[in-house]
């Protein structure tokens, strides 16, 4: 088991390293000079001296492999950026400074990550609860009106783009009826009630759309499990329906769903940019988008890396969990 975990983690680290090298290379291999970008589009401001000053200040005058090394070291132990009188201290986890406004990138990430976390975890609760319970009832009441309605709704929901669903919610609940106000993010620590009420729309939008996929999945899994012998045995020996379906069958059916949920969570944590854009939140995804449009590469680099960490960590976790839960998985 330990060997399996270590092997998975090492493999994941190598992937992460490759992601960082590719991302770093992509930004710096291009001939655009970051220093030129930084001094802005405004004409004639960028004298060669000024560009040189910026380069020194950002440490861009060093060879690219050295810059990469510095960058990676900075994440773990912090570093000093630039040299001479322009040197600045950047404590760990150092992700550099924004090209545009010189703000530390770690600070920007720290400010926007909670927004994305709030959206994703809340939505995940909605889609798991809604999806699994609908899927399960649907499987137990197979062929009834409820089942047909659920299957139809989830078919439609799985094709509904959030580009339409989000604005529809806004039109229906905010602009035309005024049931909800336009969401404004408040940190959880500041005011939990305001936080939750701002999150209602994104939670529902993302959660409902995803629950369609999970309901289909849960229904299929449950139907398969219900036809297995152990379920019949459990019923035959006189266990109550609720115990058989709610505990024995559900536990068997839920494993693959948890796997997919883990991977989805990892992918979403990297940014739910469309949800954020539609509902006007500045989360990780929106920050990355704005930074990319401004060619503010340190921020983009940081968000790509962070998102990759989430995806890879979720992958490893799911693999390991799967091996723990399902003894049939061969380790190797």
């Amino acid at each position: 088991m330990l060997r399996f975990v270590v092997k998975k983690v090492l493999l994941a680290l190598s992937t992460l390293l490759a992601v960082s090298v590719i991302t770093f290379g992509m930004f710096f291999a291009v001939p655009n000079n970051p220093a030129e970008l930084m001094c802005g589009d405004s004409k004639n401001v960028c004298s060669p001296e000024r560009i040189e000053m910026i380069e020194r200040r950002m440490g861009l005058d060093k060879p690219i492999p050295v810059q990469y090394g510095d960058f990676m070291r900075g994440i773990f132990v912090g570093r000093t950026i630039g040299s001479g009188e322009t040197a600045r201290d950047c404590p760990a986890p150092c992700l550099g400074f924004s090209f545009r406004n010189d703000e530390p990138v770690a600070g920007i990430v720290g400010r926007t990550l909670p927004v994305t976390l709030s959206i994703v975890f809340g939505a995940a609760v909605v889609w798991l609860l809604l999806g699994i319970s609908i899927g399960m009832v649907s499987a137990l009441r197979r062929g009834t009106a409820f089942d047909r309605l659920a299957v139809g709704t989830s078919l439609v929901g799985a094709s509904m783009p959030i580009l339409l669903f989000g604005p529809l919610l806004l039109i229906g609940l905010v602009y035309e009826t005024g049931i909800l106000g336009y969401p404004r993010y408040t940190p959880l620590t500041e005011n939990p009630v305001a936080w939750a009420s701002a999150m209602l729309l994104p939670w529902f939008a993302l959660g409902f759309l995803n629950s369609a996929i999970y309901a289909r999945l849960a229904r299929a899994q449950m139907l398969e499990t219900l036809s297995e012998d152990f379920v019949r045995t459990a019923r035959a020996k006189g266990l109550a329906k609720i115990t058989v379906y709610g505990r024995h069958a559900l536990r068997a059916a839920i494993t693959p769903i948890i796997t997919i949920a883990g991977l989805d969570l990892g992918a979403y944590l990297g940014g739910t940019v469309i949800t954020e854009t539609v509902f006007g939140f500045t989360g990780l995804g929106k920050t990355a988008l704005n930074a990319a449009l401004n060619l503010d590469m340190p921020i983009v680099m940081a968000t790509v890396l962070l998102a990759a960490v989430f995806v890879i960590a979720a992958n490893v976790l799911v693999d390991v969990l799967y091996a723990v839960v399902d003894p049939r998985v061969r380790l190797g």
């Binding site: 655009n32 959030i162 339409l164 997919i260 854009t277 990355a288 990319a292 983009v300 790509v304």
Partner: protein, 353 residues
């Protein structure tokens, strides 16, 4: 689902296809192996021999959902292909403006500007006809999605077949590359990649060629999506390569190319077809999302995602604008998904009936 990595979605669906029953060609009566057409040869004892293709076609024809969604698809595709003709019949071009139909604040006169002249109304501010924008938008979306899907499948199939059949270190490298591709966050990578690439090829004040961004999108989609079909094909090949017909081919001295593309590939068309038909809607969604975010297709190229982006600014006053663009996108994706599901059921020999 729209924000999920398209990968996850298509992968999950494709995985359900499962191993397809082998279709050794000698099982099929001479002349009936072509999908669809031809009368099945009746056997001596009343059995009717049908090729898997014919079976699938018959199932598909009897499936009402498949018929409706297929009809809707054909309608959309025709509309997109014939967009210039539609524009001529309709009498308005995609770039034509009708400022006389707007009031002083740039809002359309009447309810959203809908009239016999302008079926879906007038775009606020800029004064373009929305119907013709939608028609041309369909054209852009479908063109990008289809091109990307075809290239994705082609690349995925070649790499998947090779990795699955050759195995060894080729396979190990391939698996690692897949993990790498899956680790890249799709949307954020696009944000990083597209502006850089545009910046690389064009200066800040240069005119960007109208095909450049669509081509870039196709490139990114292929880069991110080939892994899904490749993984699927690889899985199938892993079991197929142990079968007798492959061994027979090898024993009679067939070359690698012959085994891969003449022996293995014909056994893979069912999962490939299903993956393709479910890949297209995922790509349409992703393309619309990127254009919505201002990363994909930009002004003045008509596009559904871009149209929705234009519309959300006026969502308070002209909600119908957003609804029209979004609903078109939704119907397109829904029709593709339903048809893909039906196709999967029809091609699955286990689904009886």
């Amino acid at each position: 689902m729209s924000e999920q990595q398209i990968a996850a979605q298509v992968g999950a669906v494709a995985a359900e296809v499962g191993p397809v029953a082998p279709m050794p060609e000698d099982d099929v009566p001479e002349g009936t192996s072509a999908a669809g057409s031809g009368t099945p040869a009746a056997g001596a004892d009343g059995f009717v021999g049908r090729s898997p293709g014919q079976l699938a076609w018959r199932r598909l024809r009897r499936d009402r959902v498949a018929l409706v969604s297929g009809g809707v698809l054909i309608f959309f595709i025709l509309l997109a292909v014939a967009a210039p003709l539609v524009a001529r019949l309709y009498g308005k071009g995609p770039q034509e403006r009708f400022p006389e139909r707007l009031d002083r604040n740039g809002f359309p006169l009447g309810y959203a500007g809908v009239s016999g002249e302008h079926w879906f109304g007038i775009q606020p501010g800029i004064g373009r006809d929305i119907f013709i924008q939608v028609v041309y938008g369909l054209r852009t979306s479908l063109m990008i999605a289809f091109t990307a899907a075809v290239l994705t499948i082609a690349l995925g199939v070649v790499i998947g077949i090779l990795a699955g059949y050759v195995g060894g270190w080729v396979d190990a490298v391939f698996t690692w590359v897949i993990d790498l591709a899956l680790a890249f966050p799709f949307y954020i990578f696009c944000f990083a990649f597209v502006p850089l690439a545009v910046n690389q090829f064009y200066g800040p004040r240069d005119e960007v060629s109208p095909w450049f961004r669509p081509a870039l999108l196709v490139l990114i989609f292929v880069l991110f999506n080939w892994t899904i079909s490749a993984r699927l094909v690889r899985g199938q090949v892993l079991s197929l390569r142990e079968r007798e017909f492959v061994e027979a081919a090898r024993a009679s001295g067939a070359g690698l190319g012959h085994i891969l593309f003449r022996q293995l590939l014909p056994n893979l068309w069912a999962p490939i077809l299903v993956t393709f038909s479910l890949n297209v809607p995922a790509l349409i969604t992703a393309e619309a999302a990127l254009s919505f975010l201002g990363i994909g297709v930009l002004e003045p190229t008509p596009d559904l995602g871009r149209l929705i982006n234009d519309s959300v600014r006026y969502i308070r006053d002209v909600p119908s604008f957003t609804i029209v663009g979004g609903t078109t996108l939704f119907l397109l994706v829904l029709a593709f998904n339903l048809f893909g599901d039906s196709l999967r059921d029809a091609l699955d020999p286990k689904s009886g009936r």
